[in-house]
């Protein structure tokens, strides 16, 4: 008898599952799963806010192809495996017409096979690891400068000022490792010496042992290949342990306005690379910053700009094609050569970015200033960073 | 009602759904020593646990000093002047002798009375005074039993329940325990003893009860039970 009950429950549940809503709707449905919580939550949120600004604007303009745009957003909790499931769901259950990219290289790396399988073109607004584009995927396009050159500006400033010894840290995941690998090559080319290199797991919360080693080694330069939360912890613990390099840069973190909010004056002098900046003179940048700040109540960061730009370029491609034919949109994106608020865009046959350029920012008196490259600089770098005890 | 200090009337009690006692009754008058004997599983210790409030009887009543104490918590029962020495591990091994005695007086918040009682217990058991700062776990078995009794006396009880006081002790200490019982009685204390060592227990008792399978079997003076041929045959080993 009991077995029959089990069966009834089973049948009932399957029936419930099968009867999900699946009717086609009037608006164009665009899906995105993005990290809103967890380690990548802060940065993912900025990227999403860029998407949301575009959706608002495009609907105000009368929609895409004359149809309103509806954005479906899911949270992947900073977990690649979850994201895979979510994109599968967006494409097969919600039957979205187009997708927008997730945040972070690791998540994008995991999702790429899914979008590839269903033939959904995707502008990777939040992924910079070239490894993703070495897998032979055809439907994913790189927008940002590759991870390998994130710290180019920092290395350049250090080399020009004659600094020699470098300590480097990297989170043990896709983007930070790619960034570290690229930076190693840059250091070699400039004849600098890597005196310390250590990787740490995504879940780490304490860098005491690393700091003690840095105390011993006293490197002139510290480069951290990080995401926002660990960038904050590392910076803070450098102060606690009185690790005072002449130059300290971290990949993702310092370029976010929240960095100063979290650390206050401790953030002064810290360098961080950025794919974009408020002060850049790209076409329409000032208007973008204004509209974004109005909508979200805070200024954009570079993830916002790349998110927004990815939508704008998708819109361009759709308009060129004149329909939602995803294969044609893919071809349009592969050929596209343009400049947005985010900067230049053009990709090679693998989908890798060719034209986009990075800048290096530094916190100066509570403001992010562009300090590299020279032709875009809004202020000279404050160099060298004074030891902690000499700071206010 | 007679002049009983403690009366247990037809209690039915046990653990979970299983009853151990099926209507046991006892009466203890002030100043008496009463022994409860019986084979394993007769429910001797369960009687104590029910009196002390560890178990709530399903039926029957427990009265002490003229009041119904059925269903009270152990600490409430104690405050009325009943004290209990459980069998087995009977001291706090990692606490000092003094701390053990302090715990015995847990319900006594008056410092002066506490000191007075402590002096009396030390007088009764000089060895405890000597070892007051020693960990109880390092005492010998006999000393631990003294300590356990001393601890139970710290509330100046009207009635003391001793559960298997000679269990697991060397013969020398067994004698010591029963000597102590006699001394306590001489001090005017009322005692109820549950014992495996039936002969020794009945020797010191004014009256005795024989339990079997959770029921009263015999009840008489200690001396007459000792000489009762049936009791002799069944419980005293011939």
């Amino acid at each position: 008898m009991k077995t029959r009950h089990v069966l009834w429950v089973l049948v009932l549940l399957v029936a419930v599952a099968l009867s999900g809503p699946t009717q086609a709707a009037e608006p164009i449905k665009i899906g995105a799963a993005i990290s809103l919580t967890g380690k990548y939550g802060r940065t993912g949120e900025y990227q999403l806010e860029g998407y949301q600004l575009w959706v608002k604007q495009v609907n105000e303009r009368g929609g895409l192809l004359g149809r309103p745009v509806e954005l479906i957003v899911l949270d992947d909790k900073s977990d690649p495996a979850t994201s895979v499931k979510l994109y599968e769901k967006l494409i097969t259950v919600d039957q979205v017409d187009l997708v927008l990219a997730p945040y972070s290289s690791a998540v994008t790396y995991a999702v790429a096979p899914v979008t590839e399988k269903y033939g959904y073109p995707m502008l990777a607004a939040g992924a910079s690891s070239t490894k993703i584009w070495e897998q032979g995927y055809r439907y994913i396009f790189m927008m940002v400068s590759p991870a390998e050159v994130y710290l180019e500006g920092a290395v350049d400033i250090a080399a020009r000022n004659g600094l020699k010894t470098v300590a480097m840290l990297a989170e043990n995941s896709l983007f930070p490792k790619a960034s570290a690998a690229g930076t190693k090559k840059l250091l070699q080319a400039r004849g600098m010496e890597l005196v310390f290199y250590e990787e740490y797991p995504k879940t780490v919360t304490d860098f005491s042992a690393v700091m003690l080693k840095l105390q011993q080694l006293r490197p002139e330069v510290v480069l951290a290949n990080t995401y926002f939360p660990d960038a904050v912890i590392i910076t803070r613990q450098m102060k606690e342990y009185n690790v005072s390099p002449k130059l300290y840069a971290a990949t993702v973190g310092p370029a976010l306005p929240d960095f100063y909010e979290s650390l206050g004056k401790t953030a002064e002098y810290v360098y961080g690379p950025s794919q974009w900046d408020i002060k850049l003179k790209t076409p329409g940048n000032a208007e973008f910053v204004k509209a974004y700040t109005e909508l979200h109540g805070r200024p954009p960061d570079y993830h916002s700009a790349s998110g927004y730009a990815s939508c704008v370029m998708l819109e361009m491609a759709v308009k060129q094609v004149g329909s939602l034919d995803r294969d044609k949109i893919r071809d349009a994106l592969a050929r596209l050569d343009t400049t947005t608020v985010f900067g230049d865009y053009a990709v090679d046959e693998q989908g890798k970015q060719l034209k986009h350029k990075m800048v290096l920012l530094q916190w100066q008196d509570g403001q992010l200033e562009i300090v590299w490259p020279d032709e875009l600089a809004t202020a000279p770098p404050r160099f060298p960073t004074p030891p902690w005890e000499q700071r206010g | 009602m007679d002049a009983s200090l403690l009366s247990v009337e037809k209690i039915v009690a046990g653990y979970g759904k299983m009853d151990i006692l099926h209507g046991v009754s006892l009466h203890v008058r002030a100043g008496e020593v009463v022994s409860i004997i019986g084979p394993n599983g007769a429910g001797k210790s369960t009687v104590f646990k029910t009196i002390m409030g560890y178990l709530t009887p399903r039926q029957g009543r427990v009265c002490f000093d003229g009041a119904d104490i059925t269903g009270l918590r152990p600490d409430q029962v104690m405050r009325r002047g009943l004290s209990y020495v459980p069998q087995g591990r009977i001291v706090f091994p990692l606490m000092t002798v003094l701390e053990n005695l302090e715990m015995g007086a847990y319900t006594e918040r008056n410092r002066a009375r506490f000191r007075a009682t402590l002096e009396r217990v030390y007088e009764l058991f000089p060895i405890l005074a000597e070892r007051r700062h020693q960990k109880a776990g390092t005492l010998s078995g006999g000393e631990q039993q003294m300590l356990a009794i001393g601890r139970a006396l710290m509330v100046s009880p009207k009635l003391l329940l001793l559960d298997e006081p000679s269990l697991g002790l060397a013969p020398r200490f067994v004698t010591m325990v029963f000597e102590t019982v006699k001394r306590l009685r001489a001090l005017g204390l009322t005692l109820v003893i549950v014992e495996q060592n039936a002969v020794r227990a009945l020797e010191v008792a004014d009256r005795g009860y024989v339990l079997e399978l959770g029921r009263n079997r015999f009840e008489d003076t200690g001396h007459r039970l000792l000489t009762n041929p049936e009791v002799k045959r069944l419980y005293l080993g011939g």
């Binding site: 089973l10 977990d79 895979v84 769901k89 259950v93 690791a106 995991a110 096979p113 995941s173 995504k202 | -």
Partner: protein, 315 residues
């Protein structure tokens, strides 16, 4: 042993479900049922050890993860096909169980539970650290080519695993083996005194309950085509196995099945919109079940409606 109607019914259900991937059912439903099968297999495996012998494992994901990594590594390095690679995953899990089983199973209740939790964390950290072998934090990607779509095959494989583990549990439950495992749960010392070689029986149960998750982990890795340590060795898998079994009824054949089906669908319905609500629900369910229906849903039904459970069939 003549087939009862309910066995036929079960068989029919299996067959109906088996054609799902090639029918017109939406892909999402297929993958939903696929994961239900996966969790039936996982929960039932956990049940084999923790439900029957009472040795609660808080680190069972370690076998799932080791299976997944073995499969991923052998497929990408040696070009093994998914089926032998997954079986190898099961073998690797058994290997690990052999290694740790004897010392760990000497530990009683809570100590065993927590040493397993510690172990699963150690293995996760090792997977992060041993980069040349495991790809470290970058994980292993492209375990299989993106086409053809593996869903139908994986679906059938998971279904087969679910059926297999349930069948094995059913057989054990009816055999003396099952009785002996239960006697360990009730009173290990008494079981030993009765002459049961408890060490050996615990070990058999442990190995079996490691083997199936190893294979399932392998199939899962093949399906996802991408694994990395944090999500492969996620505590959530262990939580799921335990809670599904406890919910349905520990130490019963059908308890984990009921638990897996119900709780997986509940969490699936909840988590997309409220990503963390299912954790709250899960926590509540565990507490309520432990406090008020310690024998799970099945046990609860049995006491409420004894009529539904034929006499002589212990739940």
């Amino acid at each position: 042993m003549r087939p009862l109607p309910r066995d036929l019914l079960l068989l029919g259900l299996c067959l109906v479900l088996a054609v799902l991937p090639v029918s017109a059912a939406p892909q999402y439903v297929v993958s939903l049922v696929l994961f239900v099968f996966m969790f039936i297999a996982l929960a039932e495996s956990w049940n084999l050890l923790s439900g029957y012998t009472g040795y609660v494992s808080f680190g069972h994901v370690v076998f799932f993860g080791v299976g997944a990594y073995t499969t991923a590594i052998t497929m990408t390095r040696w070009g093994l096909a998914w089926l032998p690679a997954s079986l190898l995953g099961g073998v690797a899990a058994v290997g690990l169980a052999l290694l740790i089983g004897y010392p760990c199973l000497r530990l009683k209740g809570p100590y065993f539970a927590i040493s397993m939790l510690g172990l699963s964390e150690v293995v996760r950290l090792l997977a992060l650290y041993l980069e040349p072998l495991t790809g470290g934090g970058m994980g292993i990607s492209r375990i299989r080519p993106p086409t053809p779509d593996p869903t139908p095959v994986v679906y059938w494989a998971m279904e087969a695993m679910a059926v297999l583990v349930v069948a094995v549990t059913y057989a054990i439950d009816r055999a003396q083996f099952g009785l002996r495992l239960k006697s360990i749960r009730e009173d290990e010392l008494a079981a030993e005194a009765m002459g049961i070689n408890t060490t050996a029986y615990k070990m058999y149960a442990f190995l079996l309950s490691a083997f199936f998750p190893g294979i399932v982990g392998g199939i899962h890795a093949y399906y996802l085509s991408y694994i990395e340590p944090d999500s492969t060795f996620a505590l959530l898998y262990t939580i799921n196995m335990a809670i599904m079994t406890i919910f349905g009824g520990r130490g019963t054949v059908w308890g984990p099945v009921i638990g897996a089906v119900t709780l997986y669908l509940v969490s699936e319905a909840v988590w997309v919109r409220f990503p963390f609500l299912h954790l709250v629900l899960f926590g509540l369910v565990i507490m309520i079940v432990v406090l008020f229906m310690p024998r799970g849903v099945l046990g609860w039904i049995a006491t409420r409606r004894p009529r539904l459970v034929p006499a002589g069939k212990e739940l």
